[in-house]
Amino acid sequence: MRSMPGIAVMVVVTLLAASVAQAGEVQVAVAANFTAPMKIIASEFEKSTGNKALLSFGGTGKFYAQIRNGAPFEVFLAADDVTPARLEQEGLGEKGSRFTYATGKLVLWSSKQGYVDAKGEVLKQGKYAHLAIAAPKLAPYGAAAQEALTRMGLLNILEPKLVQGENIAQTYQFIQSGNAELGFIALSQVYENGVLKEGSSWIVPNNLYAPIHQDAVLLAKGKNNPAAAALMTFMKSDKARAVIKSFGYDLH
């Protein structure tokens, strides 16, 4: 019985030692649309540098609230350029660390083969019950979809058919499950190695919406972590850029 506290101390010491030994780690908050490419980039990053990137995926607005309230993220790959700028202004992001790692592309997508035509005419014909978009207030791709609909003069007509996902991952789920016949999501969600994975799509022309600049920022918590700095550098490498491009993003 006497040895119980001793064993407990040993366990704690061992755990602490283990956590110190894995020093080459960086906690990353990743915008939902960048989920698939970032998983590949993270494994490339580990192969190249030996550092491990721990990824959390979610909405940019939610990450902003969490970071403001002390979340342990060290690098933030946002879905817009406004949020990283705001974090920098508030002293939560490192000055001069921001850069655009990808420019997102909007796509009109259906999980059904041949449903969406090459020119997006299906949108105007309106023979569907639900058109899914991400919430324009919350998601940059939702705002872009709303802007595109406005410029096409369709927003007012289609408003009653709109259903909103909280982020584009949920919007994808609405369409993928067939509950919404079609919808606007990020090209990166349905595109891999330069081809559409399933269903049918229309890549919305760039002149219909303002470019979706997705910025990365080094957060205050990662200032003294060499692995965080290494990831910021790795995001600009040819390897990372090739992956980003293969998912249909534009690069600078």
Binding site: G59, G61, K62, H130, A135, L138, E166, S177, N179
Partner: protein, 226 residues
Amino acid sequence: MLFDPQDLTAVWLTLKLAGITTLILLLAGTPIAWWLARTGSWWKGPIGAMVALPIVLPPTVIGFYLLVAMGPQGAVGKLTEALGLGTLPFTFAGLVVASVLYSLPFVVQPLQNAFEAIGERPLEAAATLRASPLDTFLSVVLPLARPGYLTATVLGFAHTVGEFGVVLMIGGNIPDKTRVVSVQIYDHVEAMEYSQAHGLAALMVLFSFLVLLALYTFNPTGRRTQ
């Protein structure tokens, strides 16, 4: 103004959803709870476990399966489409169906406990007085199970008001149809509109506290029947 019109719409929609759900649950939950309380059948265990499932399942599981099942490729979706009702996700009716499933144990369990607490004796006494089963239920069981009904009503209503994950997954965030208070709060937080989020969130805390306070104050026996 603390609440904008969209907030008030969400509040009204939430109350409507919780009210309709509770009413359906009281009607549908009574026979289920009665059967569970009286039966000696082998099925009591499995059915009781089915009813209790929503307590332990994450709302994401319920929401995900409902989205798939009620969608055009799902069994429920095919049925509703064949009946000419369309599919249920993104509709108020869909939310009612989901809420009924989600809040089922919170109504059935207090009723079942109340029915079990009555025991055989009052029923036997009624039978010797030649009361019909319906008469027995209305004039003996219902009055005796009153605390159970109060608990069931309050918990069913409050639990539906507090629903979030399921609505998020099958609602589609449509104003006046599926955008309930919890989703509206989430939207405010995500959009960094923290003062509006605070207003609605505080309202929810106050509401929940008052509801439970009323339950624990006026229904001390009901609390024990949970």
